[in-house]
Every structure is written in C-alpha cells, then in structure tokens.
C-alpha cells in the first residue's frame, strides 16, 4: 500500500481545540455559543447523531440543547418555533435533524432558519454566499471535505479536481468552495459518459454518490488525493460493515492520500458544525454591535 491514510479523527480534534479557544473568547465577551437541535417525531431515528453532536459540543466549549417535538406538529407551528429561536439572542445556531415526518418539507424549514444562525449552511443565502466566494457558513460535509484537502501539501491554485456527485448539499458546494480557492473543478454525475477519463486527469478526487466500490484504483492518477464522502452499510461474510464510495484497497495502491470510511470525513463534519457555531456567534455579535451598540463618544 502506498497511500497515506488521512486521520479524520485527528483533524477533527485539532479543529475542536481551535473552536474551544474561540468559544471561550466569545463567552468572555458575553456571547457563549449555543446550539439548539430540533427533531420532530421519532427521536430514536436521529438519536445517534444528536448524541454525537452533544458530545462534540461539550469538548468544543459549545452549549447544546436537544429539543424534540411530537410527530403531529404542523409545519406552521414548526416555522413559529424556528422564528422564536431566530429571535432569541441566547441561541446562536439551529440544527434541523433528519428524518422529518412526511408532512414537513425540509427545505421550507431550512429557509425558515435565519441565515446568521444557519450553522448547517443549508439556507439559500448561505449557498449563495459560497457561490459568491464569501465562505462564512457552508454546508458542513462539503466544508469538512475541503478542509481535509487543505491539510495536504498541495497548491490549491490551479489544482485539477474532479468531484463525482452533484448533490446540492455536498457535490456542488464542494465545487464552488474549491473554485474560490483557485482549483479547476470538473463535476461528474450519473449522466457523465466517462467518469474515469475525468478522475484520471485529477490531482484530487472527491466522491459523494452513495455507491460502494464506485471508484477503483485504476480510475486514479498515481499520487492523487482521494476524499471519500460516501457512507454505505454493506453486508459482508463477517457481518455488516460501513464503507465509502471508493474501493479502499485498490485505491490505496494508487492514491497519494486517502480518507478511510469510517474515520475520515465523518468526524470532521461534526467538528465543522461546531466551527460554524462559533462563526455564527461571532457574526451575530458583530451584527448586534453594528445595529444596536455603536455609540459615538
């Protein structure tokens, strides 16, 4: 095996330490960062994620409160709840846990969160800012994947990158984040005639499709970085296992760097949520001071 395996847990720990420092600084100015998690209906479905976020918030110095609302809560009631959180100065970020009941369209809820409290980076204004190169609050998974690439000794300007998968919350924002860093980005998807032709030309490949084994070693340029965002449960003779979208063994023979699944992008994603929490808190503090606390002396 030739690729260096990227340690997502270590990157996440560094990031959380940074966030903790920031959070203390904000708290000392009266702005203790605080996240509210909103789940609707069956809390068990999102329990693993919520618990994990809670734990990481604790180590990052971010306050965290999980709220669960009954499955029969109407869309109007939920929007009202979000508006209440938007108006509450103690709350700095809102996480909308999925899955939601069928009668609740997730995009409508995401739009109801104030852009300054949009720690998941899902509000159209947040995505718009990314497209326009203002990289404040971005979708956590996309930002995490790009942050991982930035830890490698690669020059971003002019780097040839192929992104496989053009989802709105992962593939496309990755493309725009990388473009603003000066990379030349190609976005491939299920209609692409030859993904291999594009991936072989790339210095870095991102894959976020949800298909185990989609990327194999022969699709990579030797020495390329491979960032695997897929999380798939597969059955093996040894029982169920979590794997990414890349065939790890063959890719690790060719790549220069590779993220494992689990232990790659996943942990950095949750740490990025905490990073967004302190960023959002700082934005709100600045906004508040601009709007209300500017005094002429």
């Amino acid at each position: 095996m030739r690729a260096a395996v990227i340690d997502g847990k270590a990157i996440a720990a560094d990031l959380r330490a940074e966030v903790n420092f920031e959070a203390q600084d904000l708290a000392s100015q009266g702005w203790q960062p605080m996240l509210i998690s909103v789940s609707v209906g069956d809390a068990a479905a999102s329990e693993i994620y919520v618990r994990n976020q809670q734990r990481q918030a604790n180590t990052a110095g971010v306050e965290f409160e999980a709220r669960n609302y009954p499955a029969e809560t109407s869309l109007e009631q939920l929007i009202g709840i979000l508006q209440g959180l938007n108006a509450d100065p103690r709350v700095n970020g809102v996480i909308i846990q999925r899955p939601l009941p069928d009668h609740i369209p997730v995009k409508v809820l995401q739009k109801a969160v104030h852009p300054l409290k949009d720690v998941e980076g899902m509000h159209p204004a947040s995505i718009g800012n990314i497209v326009y190169n203002d990289l404040a609050l971005g979708p956590c998974t996309a930002v995490a994947a790009v942050e991982i690439l930035k830890t490698l000794p690669l020059q971003m300007q002019g780097l040839n990158v192929t992104v496989i998968g053009h989802s709105e919350i992962v593939g496309k924002p990755i493309a725009f984040l990388l473009m603003s860093l000066g990379a030349t980005v190609t976005v491939c998807h299920h209609m692409t005639r030859s993904v291999a032709m594009h991936s072989r030309a790339a210095d870095a490949v991102f894959v976020a499709v949800g298909k185990p084994g989609l990327v194999t070693g022969d699709m990579l340029k030797p020495g390329a970085a491979l960032i695997d965002i897929g999380i798939n449960r597969v059955e093996t003779p040894d029982g169920p296992r979590t794997v990414g979208d890349a065939d790890f063994d063959s890719c690790a023979e060719v790549a220069g760097w590779i993220t494992p699944v689990p232990g790659g992008v996943g942990p950095v994603t949750v740490a990025t949520l905490m990073k967004n929490a302190v960023l959002a808190t700082r934005l709100q503090m600045d906004h508040y001071r601009d709007a209300y606390a500017r005094t002429d002396v």
Binding site: P124, N129, V131, V185, T186, V187, M191
Partner: protein
C-alpha cells in the same frame, strides 16, 4: 467544415415572440399585464442606452415599463425607499437596478434589498443560492440566453462535456449551474487553470466568458464542438481606417468557426439574447406572483 452560425438576433426574436404570446394570454385570460421597473441612477451614457433599449422592448412585447431616473447624488436611503415601494407595488413584477451604481452607493446592499421574487437580473443572494440548490429561482439573463441557444441547437444536453471559461458571478458560475442542471459534465476553467488548451479541447460545449479579446483560438476547439462566445471586446481596427474600432468576442472567430460544429458570432450572438431573457424573466416572475404555471420555453 464550416460551422453553423447561431444567429442570436433571430433567436432573440423568437424568444420575444414567445414572450408576446404569454403576455397576450395573461392579459386575456387573467386580466394581468406584466410590468418591469428599471431604476437608473446618474447619467452614464452607456447605461442610458441600455435602459432606453430595455424600456422600448418591454413595451413592444405588450408589458408595462416603469422607468425611475434618479440624480447621480441620490442617497442610499432614497434609493432603498424607491425599491421598497416597487417591492410592494403589485403592478411591478420585475425590478432591475441598472449597474454600475455611483460609488457612494453599496451595490450588494441595494441588490439584496430587491424582493428575490422580483429580482429579474437574478443577482440577489437568495436567487444565487436557490439556483445553487436546484430550486426555482430567477436566473441571470446572459447565461439563461446561452442555455436556451444550446438547448435549441442540441435538443438534450445530457451527458455532454461542457467547459465554461471564466468564473464570474454573473456569467461563469450561473452558467455552470445551469449546465449541471441539464446533466452536462461541467468543468469551470479560469485564469489559474493549468493546460487550458487541453481542458478546452475535451469539451463538446465551450462557453467563453472572460473578457479577453480572441483569447480562445480555433486549435483549442474540438472538431464539431459548439462554441458560445459571451465576450464583447472593442479592439482597434486600423484596416477600417484611422481611429476605427470593431467588436470581437473572447473566441478567435475565423479559426474557431473552421473547426466548430456551431458558433455564436460577436456581435449578433449572445448579446441580443440578454434583453430578451430579461423580458422572459419578467413574465416568469409575473406568473409566479399570480400562482400561474411557469411560462413554457422561457425558464431554465
């Protein structure tokens, strides 16, 4: 092989015809006349020409045109007040603030004060994000025009390799989103791109939007590719006499036309489509504001 020349003037006329048809229908069936308000601050001669031309075409397709001409030293508060009034005026379906604005005005703030539903230029940050997340939005006029021409020429764009040269907010980036929306494999190339000729040579569709005269020569173009030239550059033309100039695109037309399958000329290619798409966006905004179906053939 000589490339097919994509006649933007003729194509823009067909778009205006479609717009006229939708406007007539809206008047007859719904009793609604779409309205476009254009706000011009100052007396920049080029902007005045654009605004006049927009107003004239708006009336020609049967829509109402509202022009607000304001002094060059108009304050930000006064301009915001006008926009607020237009945002709340049910007869106004589209609002366009002619750019550039005088230096003392904050362009981002002004653009983002337009109601996203009336932002027919598609520059409001929410529209950028809605396009980025594949939701219904107002799409910037120039890339929308390019998309319409590409669809007309190719039928389906699905699976084609497209390269967009230039990553500007008003053309390159939305163009890439639109091409992805039509299932192209999209590469966005720019000033930092290595081996630009090779990248462009892979493409079935090349959209050039960098603003550098004749930067893309014919030997960068794959045989049979479709070339959309968004650039409009004025260069010296001593062959026409002393002090004369002419307009050229970002593509070297003669050499590219010799290899391409189809190509837009400059002038007469993408240019005429832009105002036609502004009219199309106004109809779209009007239909959405009234809860009516999207106007066929006018949207992304």
């Amino acid at each position: 092989m000589a490339a097919k020349i994509i006649d933007g003037k003729a194509f823009a006329a067909t778009v205006r015809e479609k717009v006229t048809g939708h406007v007539t229908r809206l008047k007859e069936e719904n009793g609604i006349t779409p309205g476009l308000a254009v706000v011009l601050v100052g007396e920049d001669p080029a902007s005045q020409v654009y605004v006049r031309s927009k107003g004239k075409q708006t009336v020609e397709v049967g829509m109402n045109s509202y022009e607000h001409k304001m002094d060059v030293d108009t304050s930000q508060e006064d301009l915001l007040a006008i926009i607020d009034k237009l945002n709340n005026d049910p007869a106004v379906h589209g609002i366009l603030v002619q750019l550039p604005l005088p230096g003392h005005l904050n362009e981002d703030l002004i653009i983002n004060s337009i109601s996203p539903a009336k932002d027919v230029d598609g520059f409001h940050i929410s529209n950028v994000g809605l396009l980025g997340t594949g939701q219904k939005s107002m799409v910037p006029c120039t890339p929308l025009g390019c998309l319409m021409m590409l669809r007309d020429h190719h039928g389906s764009l699905s699976g084609l390799d497209a390269v967009v040269v230039g990553r500007s907010n008003i053309v390159g980036k939305p163009m890439a989103q639109l091409l992805l929306g039509d299932s192209c494999t999209v590469t966005i190339a720019h000033s930092r791109t290595k081996d630009l000729p090779d990248v462009v040579r892979r493409a079935d569709i090349v959209v050039a939007a960098v603003g550098r005269p004749e930067m893309v020569p014919g030997d960068w173009i794959k045989e049979g590719a479709t070339v959309i030239d968004v650039g409009i550059n004025r260069i010296d033309a001593p062959e026409k006499g002393e002090g004369k100039t002419r307009l050229v695109g970002d593509v070297h037309y003669e050499s590219a036309a010799a290899v391409a399958g189809a190509i837009t000329p400059v002038p007469g290619g993408v240019g005429p489509m832009t105002i036609a798409c502004l009219l199309a966006n106004t109809v779209t905004a009007c239909c959405r504001a009234n809860g009516l179906a999207e106007p066929e053939g006018l949207t992304a």
